[in-house]
């Protein structure tokens, strides 16, 4: 139900964009107003969320340690999995953000006859997640050619490397295939695994369908439905230079693409897509395990009711005396 509902919603949104591109009178709305509004919501929303996180203090130093601590000089500490220095933390975070280190640990637990529990390899989720995120990043970078004039050499080089295999005309982008394939896997996994289906919310499918819709419209525009890329670039340049030009006949699919992108941007701050910023702030990962080495201050530490030694001695004075234990007050 969640899956079907979000699919329908994404189709509806894509159709809305499509229609907006067809009607000349609506193009200023779908080509300029909506993208700007989405961008503003994205910026303000994401900043707001990040500020909310940043304003909440980290009262305790609670890293999850995944290796040997630094203790005795002759025991080799695990510098990345249990960092005790800033450099180690940077390394741990780099592995986490760039390579999804923790997800790489993933296993599949199986209960076999015996009973015997087995822990099998389950790297596909890691592969798909990593493939999707990197491909998405590269696709975004590749899109810079629409927003920059002249196109920087790096961006041009990226495009040519991406179409290295020279399959078809125009050259097939490897990232397109990877992006669509990875998204497809992530979606199928949610639909086919009973556990994943049980826990998936509307928003989980919605994000996937939105990205799939974005990818599909993009791929179609490159390989099937030709559009006026000069007009697209005019629009893109106009948007970034704050002197928007309302485009003419760009091709209706383009407006679906742009509208889905706008929805994605505006949806970001209200959704789990915020994980992209949140991962950097996770206190179980971004703190050094120096809990006993350096004092960590809790800004809201407040005094509490403690049963003091004096109260304790008063309560047990006779018994302490009888047992011959030393007393503060006789």
């Amino acid at each position: 139900m969640n899956a079907l509902g979000s699919l329908l919603l994404v189709l509806l949104l894509a159709g809305l964009g499509f229609a907006g591109g067809q009607v000349a009178g609506l193009r200023p709305l779908f080509g300029v107003v909506v993208p700007y509004a989405a961008f503003v919501i994205f910026l303000l929303g994401v900043s707001h969320r990040v500020v909310l996180w940043a304003r909440a203090p980290v009262p305790f130093r609670i890293p999850t340690t995944c290796g040997q601590q630094r203790s005795l000089s002759w025991i080799k500490p695990s510098r990345l999995e249990n960092p005790s220095s800033t450099l180690g933390v940077v390394g741990r975070m780099a592995l986490e953000v760039g390579l999804f280190r923790s997800l790489f640990r993933n296993t599949r637990t199986e209960l076999r006859e015996g009973p015997r529990l087995g822990y099998g390899e389950a790297k596909l989720l890691w592969v798909a997640a990593l493939a999707f995120h990197w491909a998405f990043l590269l696709v975004i970078l590749r899109h810079l050619r629409f927003f920059l004039e002249p196109v920087p050499a790096v961006v041009a080089a990226l495009a040519s490397v991406d179409s290295f295999f020279e399959i078809g005309t125009p050259g097939l982008y490897a990232t397109d295939i990877v992006l669509a394939g990875a998204l497809g896997y992530l979606l199928l996994r949610r639909l086919l695994s009973p556990q994943a289906r049980y826990l998936s919310l509307f928003g989980d499918y919605f994000a996937l369908f939105l990205l799939l819709g974005l990818a599909a419209s993009g791929i179609l525009m490159r390989y099937a439905v030709r559009i006026d890329t000069v007009a697209v670039k005019q629009l893109a340049l106009g948007l970034v230079t704050l002197s928007p030009v309302v485009p003419g006949e760009v091709g209706p699919l383009f407006f679906s693409h742009l509208f889905l992108l706008s929805v994605l941007g505006a949806y970001c701050p209200f959704s789990k897509l915020m994980h992209m910023g949140g991962v950097f702030l996770s206190p179980t990962r971004n703190l050094a395990n120096t809990s006993r080495m350096k004092r960590h201050v809790n800004p809201w530490n407040y005094p509490v009711d403690v049963h003091t030694y004096a109260q304790w001695e008063d309560a047990f004075r006779d018994k302490l005396k009888a047992a011959g234990l030393p007393l503060e007050k006789e």
């Binding site: 996180w53 909440a56 980290v58 009262p59 305790f60 609670i62 999850t64 040997q68 601590q69 630094r70 203790s71 005795l72 025991i75 695990s78 986490e96 923790s102 640990r105 296993t107 637990t109 209960l111 015997r116 529990l117 989720l125 997640a129 009973p194 556990q195 994943a196 049980y198 928003g203 989980d204 209200f270 789990k272 915020m274 994980h275 949140g278 991962v279 996770s282 206190p283 990962r285 809990s291 006993r292 080495m293 350096k294 004092r295 509490v304 009711d305 403690v306 049963h307 030694y309 304790w312 001695e313 309560a315 018994k319 302490l320 009888a322 047992a323 011959g324 234990l325 030393p326 503060e328």
Partner: protein, 546 residues
């Protein structure tokens, strides 16, 4: 009780297929054997906790305060503003499900709400409904859920079905730590008086007497005296075990179970023998007679209240630094909370081993050293005479306790000691040790008898790995450094892997330790024949010490 419990072969038939019912339906069934009983009102009254009343989880009416909903929501707001972890973990989960089959309770029960992601969603759904714009407007469509009394019951059921072991957080790509969510959940439940007796009775005891077991100072002294006599009988060596002695160099803090519980008790025997052998200038305290801290399972405030005694006592006694015994969650508190909560310990000195001169700069601020760190240093510097043959009746493996492994990184120190004192040592499979270790299934205050079935389910992955090394290497002893393990692994293993034994690392050290003036030892610290001679006879299973 045993006759009421399902047979292991039946319990091992776990059905992992989730029910067709939407998870947002909060209804839970409080079935005998899978939940903990409510706390007696007298403990709440003594501790000054809200809403003391007689009630039972299987009652229809939980007698919540009239404005319970406001209390919970305000409590959430306060905690969202105080803990970045909480706010962040409410926001960033993508529900990838990588954590799902990493939880011992999910593996053992198949209940989909025991998947860590779902356990957190029980809270997140309420967070989204009341604290996010999308949830307030769109409700269920944005994953929001109304807070009802049934949700409180569901929280109680599942937040007291999590041992805060942090295994899921090792696998989470964002480091989302269910322990944090469970801790917040329990804090909130405590605000409306929904707590369990197996946690609050020890907490009240600890507040009043200084330890969870409620041992009063004279009884504490008796227990230590008895222990000294027994040690003299076994080894021929009479050790000093001072209590509340001012001017000692080191305060030694133990989990109180070591004074009475079995097999914990043998660990203390071994430790006190060690202190005698190296002539350590130390004292125990009857006031700070508990290193463990069931406050951790109640609220941050309660944790701080109980923990405060350790520094206060170190200051009063004028010691230089503090040494801590074998206890799992105690080390979570000492390592990650104590200095922040009750420090700075500027009245203490940076710990230095008086025997080897080794400094412990990693404990520079907190000034508290783990007994395994201390002992590993002694062995490394050749300061102990060890005869590992005295442990030849044991084929040992090591169970990493959740907190020292995942909240500290105490991995190699106990292993180094074990390898030095025990000639036959085998690791369990990689996926079940070190940072990936499996909980005993009874941590975080859930080790009570009425919760027996759920404990056996939760401990199943651990027990199954023990079975693996028993079958493969003939392992007959699980060594560990946690008092809850020592209390709850014996019944767990008796259930799944009968015939196994459980011991503290310092019990095995005590067996192997050659002390000046000792008798020729014919038995180990349990009074069982040592070495190869004892192997055939085999020690008796653990039971209550007479």
């Amino acid at each position: 009780m045993a006759e009421e419990v399902a047979k292991p072969e039946d319990l091992a038939q776990v059905d992992y297929r989730p029910p067709a019912k939407d998870w947002r339906d909060p209804a839970v069934e409080f079935r005998k054997g899978v939940f903990c009983y409510s706390a007696a009102p007298k403990h709440l009254q003594y501790l000054g906790l809200p809403n003391p009343r007689p009630w039972h989880p299987s009652d229809a009416d939980w007698k919540l305060p009239a404005d319970w909903k406001r209390i919970i929501l305000e409590g959430m707001k306060e905690r969202l503003d105080r803990f970045r972890s909480f706010r962040l973990f409410m926001d960033i989960c993508v529900r990838c499900g990588a954590c799902a089959d990493k939880c011992h309770f999910y593996i053992g029960s198949g209940d989909p709400k025991n998947m860590p992601v779902m356990r957190a969603e029980l809270m997140r759904s309420v967070y989204r409904r009341y604290f996010t714009p999308a949830g307030r407007i769109l409700g269920p469509l944005a994953g929001g859920r109304e807070l009802t009394e049934d949700v409180i019951k569901e929280w109680f059921y599942y937040f007291y079905q999590c041992t805060e072991c942090r295994r899921c957080s090792v696998f989470c790509p964002f480091g989302i730590d269910t322990a944090e969510v469970t801790m917040m959940g329990r804090e909130l439940l405590n605000l409306v008086g929904c707590n369990i007796n197996w946690i609050l009775e020890p907490v009240a005891n600890c507040q009043r007497t200084g330890n969870h077991l409620g041992i009063q100072p004279h009884a504490f002294k008796d227990a230590i005296d008895f222990l000294v006599d027994e040690l003299a009988e076994i080894t021929g060596v009479r050790v000093e075990a001072p209590i509340n002695r001012k001017g000692a160099e080191i305060l030694y803090v133990i989990p109180s179970a070591e004074t009475f519980g079995t097999p914990h008790y043998y660990t203390l025997l071994g430790t006190l023998l060690l202190f005698h052998a190296i002539g350590l200038d130390y004292t125990l305290s009857a006031y700070a007679s508990e290193g463990g801290n069931f406050g951790l399972f109640t609220s941050h405030e309660m944790m701080k209240r109980l923990n405060a005694k350790i520094y206060a006592e170190a200051r009063r006694l004028g010691v230089k630094w503090i040494l801590g015994g074998e206890c799992g969650h105690m080390w979570r508190v000492v390592h990650q909370y104590m200095d922040t909560m009750n420090g700075p310990a500027d009245f203490l000195e940076e710990p230095v081993s008086p025997v080897t001169g080794t400094r412990f700069p990693h404990a520079r601020s907190t000034k508290m050293v783990h007994i395994c760190e201390f002992t590993a240093d002694l062995i490394h510097n050749g300061r102990l005479r060890l005869d590992p043959r005295r442990n030849d009746h044991w084929v040992a493996t090591f169970h990493d306790s959740c907190n020292p492994a995942r909240s500290m990184g105490l991995i190699e120190e106990p292993r180094f000691i074990l390898r030095s004192v025990c000639r036959r040592f085998h690791e369990m499979p990689e996926n079940t040790i070190k940072e990936r270790t499996f909980c005993c299934g009874s941590g975080a205050g859930l080790g009570t008898d009425e919760n027996f079935e759920m404990r056996m389910r939760g401990g199943f992955p651990r027990a199954n790995a023990v079975k693996h090394v028993r079958d493969r290497f003939g392992v007959n002893l699980v060594a560990c450094v946690c008092a809850i393990d020592k209390a709850t692994l014996p019944p767990l293993l008796e259930y799944w892997v009968p015939g196994m034994h459980v011991a503290g690392v310092h019990e095995l050290l005590g067996n192997a330790l050659v002390v000046e003036g000792e008798n020729e030892r014919s038995t180990d610290l349990r009074g069982e024949p040592t070495g190869a001679a004892g192997a055939s006879a085999g020690p008796q299973p653990e039971g209550a010490r007479e």
